[in-house]
Amino acid sequence: MYCLFVLRNDKSGCFGGRALISLWALLLCSGIGALAQSAAPPLNANAPFSIRATHVLGLPNTKNNCNGMLSIQNNALRFQKCGNPDAQVNIASVRALFLGEESKQVGGLPMKLGKAAAPYGGGRVVSLFAHKKYDTLTLDYVDSDGGVHGAIFEVTKGQGELVRNELVARGVSSSSGEDQATKQSTSEVTHEDK
């Protein structure tokens, strides 16, 4: 009986030890993870950065609503459409940067026609699900004459933050208040004339 008790005690002691070791290992792993996160290297100001984007409007000699690559290289923000010469803005000339959020219907004209042709209002049901959220990146910059320009880009949701971080790391001042998302609202805001 005594022997059995001792044996049991030994076993529980062994089990407790294992539990302690596992707990310690878990803590160690999470600690290392936290350290790795906090010790993440800062954004390299010279490393090239490139993402897919849609130029909505604003860049000189670039068509509106065209897709291409938005990149940051050598202190210049470049937008290049495949095969076309790229449009670029000197990062030093960027005065302000605003990040916003929008939602739009996907599929373009073919989808629109398909939805219109669908019987029994089926197109409306499709519209309910065929929309996508994306980030809008709005830049205010000045040209060589001092004239104010604005440019708007659409990027995949979540990537707007990356572009902003990259530009901020290169010295662009981001606006304190984020660009307000134009969310669906039925309320009407009115500013009466004075």
């Binding site: 604003g58 916003g100 939602s103 320009h149 604005g150 307000q180 134009t182 669906q184 805001v189 500013h191």
Partner: protein
């Protein structure tokens, strides 16, 4: 029999082609005749225009909308060919231009919409913008004041409202008689509101 039918068919085709060519030539002539009169608008001086950035007033208008209105305005005003040059805010060349007007735009009403809501319901979710536009001289005299709307009701993204708005503002400026009033005001200087026009454009 067959040959005569063929001949008549050929004749018809030839006649219609001739008529089409003649009409197109006449239309082209009309366009060419109209074009030069639109350029100078009858007045001696041709003004330049400086577009100021959009004033959102007290409204929560997204910055992308402000920029889109500003850029679309510049594009649409350039298209009107009414002004000698259309300059941006802050452009250093503006100080060298003697006949300069400044376009001030203030947002007075904004209803945010939703493209999805428009696609699903058709009748709701419209994006509506109303702005007050003022053409002001360097001395601060208002030569034209108008309230203009820009909406998107059915198709297109929310930003399309800014394009429609800019087009309506350009149209309102083009159709107004501000140049005549400005010329009269120059001839007989009176109070500051002498050349003021108020128009409503939808």
């Amino acid at each position: 029999m067959k040959t005569s039918r063929r001949n008549s068919w050929t004749f018809c085709v030839a006649a219609s082609v001739t008529i089409a060519v003649a009409l197109s030539g006449r239309l082209a002539g009309q366009t060419a005749a109209v074009k030069p009169s639109g350029g100078s608008s009858g007045s001696g001086t041709q003004w330049s225009l400086q577009v100021e950035r959009i004033d959102p007033g007290h409204l929560d208008l997204a910055h992308s909308f402000q920029v889109a209105i500003y850029e679309n305005l510049l594009e649409e005003l350039n298209k009107t060919k009414r002004f000698k040059s259309v300059l941006r805010e802050g452009d250093s060349k503006a100080s060298e231009i003697p006949d300069l007007l400044i376009l001030k735009t203030t947002v007075v009403k904004y209803t945010p919409g939703s493209e999805t809501q428009r696609a699903v319901t058709t009748v709701s979710g419209a994006t509506k913008l109303t702005v007050r536009s003022q053409l002001v001289t360097r001395e601060g005299r208002i030569v034209l004041e108008s309230t203009v709307n820009g909406n998107v009701h059915f198709f297109g993204s929310n930003l399309r409202a800014t394009h429609n708005l800019a087009r309506n503002i350009a149209k309102a400026i083009k159709q107004s008689a501000w140049q005549e009033s400005e010329r009269l005001a120059r001839c007989a200087p009176v109070n500051s509101d002498c050349g003021r026009h108020t128009s409503l454009a939808s």
